[in-house]
Symmetry: C2
Subunit: 334 residues, 2 copies
């Protein structure tokens, strides 16, 4: 039996503006061999996230992905060969495998995962998306029952969970998303109280109509104009959970910041707080237990958008940045 080749997708060059297929290149390499303390992993599902694009712009919470290297990306992968204690063939792990069929990685950089059905939930509700929604809403913004929570990119992997968790906590929830179809889905399927289509009308007016009592918590996935509009609608003592800035990722230079900073922060005594999900991993077990209980009770609907084939990963990311997905987008590699 011939050794299988390892298909790898490289970031061919760093995009200066909008990301396109021309920035990627697929090559075939030899299967990597694990060294002592390492394991050979078969990549199963690759997670796609807006942050992938931010990594190309420079150092973030991880070092920048530079042109010519395998595109970075988190994945659920299966151990096929182990030279590390505590890991055996068949074990599932979460790892930054990058966009490829196989990866050999040190065991200490892997997080062992349980087998759950469906396996894709390990990347959505029990993965970074679910934990980001959970901690970013509950630990950073601390919403109280009766408060109004607004979330942007509400039909995305994180936003769709944020809104549902806020509902579970007794809040009034407004989602901001692109297009009538996504907005209908938020209110009719996920139980949001209202949805705003950011592609039509004046943002300030449409959000104000959907949140007539003002905003107590804004979960910000996008930055830019939507953040600016929400700042002007925040109530005194409001909290903004700064999760991402999608609007700024797929473009050349950082835009000007929102008007109202810092004036409205002072006058309304707002808190804007950034976070990274790993800050809260000490509380991970409790979060997973809560999420699983809500899923089991039918209170948390998990939407997934699974695209088949490693070769389609670049297009899947480009499409995600254009907002074509609903729920958690991932690529099934094997």
């Amino acid at each position: 039996m011939p050794t299988p080749a390892n298909r790898q997708i490289l970031l061919a060059e760093t995009p200066k503006d909008k990301l396109g297929p021309e920035h990627f290149r697929m090559i075939e390499s030899a299967l990597p061999a694990p060294k002592d303390g390492e394991v050979l992993l078969r990549v199963r599902y690759i997670s796609l996230d807006a942050a992938n694009r931010a990594w190309m712009q420079g150092a973030t919470y991880r070092e920048a992905v530079v042109g010519g290297s395998v595109m970075a990306g988190g994945a659920v992968a299966e151990v096929v060969e182990s030279k590390a204690p505590n890991l055996a063939p068949g074990d599932l792990v979460f790892a930054d495998t990058g966009w490829q069929d196989y990866a050999a990685l040190p065991a200490k950089r892997l997080v062992k995962l349980p087998r759950v059905e469906p396996m894709t939930h390990l990347l959505s509700v029990y993965g970074i998306a679910g934990l980001t929604a959970y901690f970013g809403l509950l630990n950073i913004a601390e919403p109280k029952a009766g408060e109004t929570v607004v979330v942007s990119a509400a039909a995305g992997s994180v936003g769709s969970l944020v809104g549902q968790i806020a509902k579970i906590k007794g809040c009034r929830v407004v989602g901001i998303a692109g297009g009538a179809q996504k907005c209908n889905w938020l209110t009719q399927e996920l139980g949001f109280d209202a949805a705003v289509d950011y592609k039509t009308g004046n943002l300030f007016k449409t959000i104000k109509e959907a949140a007539p009592g003002g905003i107590d918590v804004y979960f910000d996935n996008v930055g830019g104009d939507i953040l600016e509009a929400c700042l002007f609608l925040m109530n005194t003592g409001g909290r903004i959970s700064c999760c991402g800035a999608i609007s700024a990722y797929d473009r050349a230079a950082p835009a000007a910041g929102p008007r109202g900073v810092p004036g409205l922060i002072v006058v309304k005594r707002l808190t804007m707080k950034g976070f990274i999900v790993t800050d809260f991993f000490a509380e991970r077990d409790k979060a997973i237990a809560d999420l699983a209980a809500w899923v089991a009770a039918g209170k948390l609907k998990v939407e997934e958008d699974v695209i088949a084939g490693l070769e389609n990963t670049p297009a899947a990311l480009i499409g995600l940045l254009a907002g074509e997905n609903r729920g958690k987008r991932m690529v099934k590699v094997a």
Copy 2:
């Protein structure tokens, strides 16, 4: 003996752009008569603050000051006639008397003050300025020994105290102020580790030189370009205490916000938090005790800039907005 007249300074009209003497008008009115539950106050010292200008722009934490009414302002005042229990002639109070010689106000809107020497300290270190510095630094930003604290408007009433309190807490302190004279004063008289003159050179470069290890805490009195430069220099987990936005007060419309919002807040996991000093008044006694102990020990130098004469109050505020004061500016009325 003829009844003394009450000189009153009105905000003649709401400024649309830069504040000037033409926006004020002085009139003489009859002495007000206190009703039941009220006291007649002789205004002694009027506090001047950048926030006075912000009140003219619209509702803040207080309602807007509208054209034609007595200009609002906090003051130390002395009771001359009382129709309220618990207050007697000779008692000192802090009150929003407005810019006038006398005011009749309900006792419940007054805060009784102790007699201290000099009385002016009631408006500086033991007044709003001192408490704002204390709570805004310690409760909002929570600086730790060894951290780098940067403060803007550092030669002002709040900033000069913020920097000294941060030094007392073991921090490395950088002050940003306008002009070599103020900068020298910060380092040579107040013990700041470094000072940056925002009027010369590239802000980002000069602040970076003064804070080569990055910024852990930025106490922001000004907003605008200085906030933007500091955002790019913040360390991971840094905190920005949003105290004021002087740069935006004396102009027509809110400027664009700083670049880096929200991108840098996300990536560096920053917290930006606005506050109002009254949020912390439950802890006021402890704060005053700490401040008094530091003053007594010579660790906290109190700089005051006292201008004589009610009629000079408009010019004193206009000058404060232009940055001509050092330390706490106030007007001695009587």
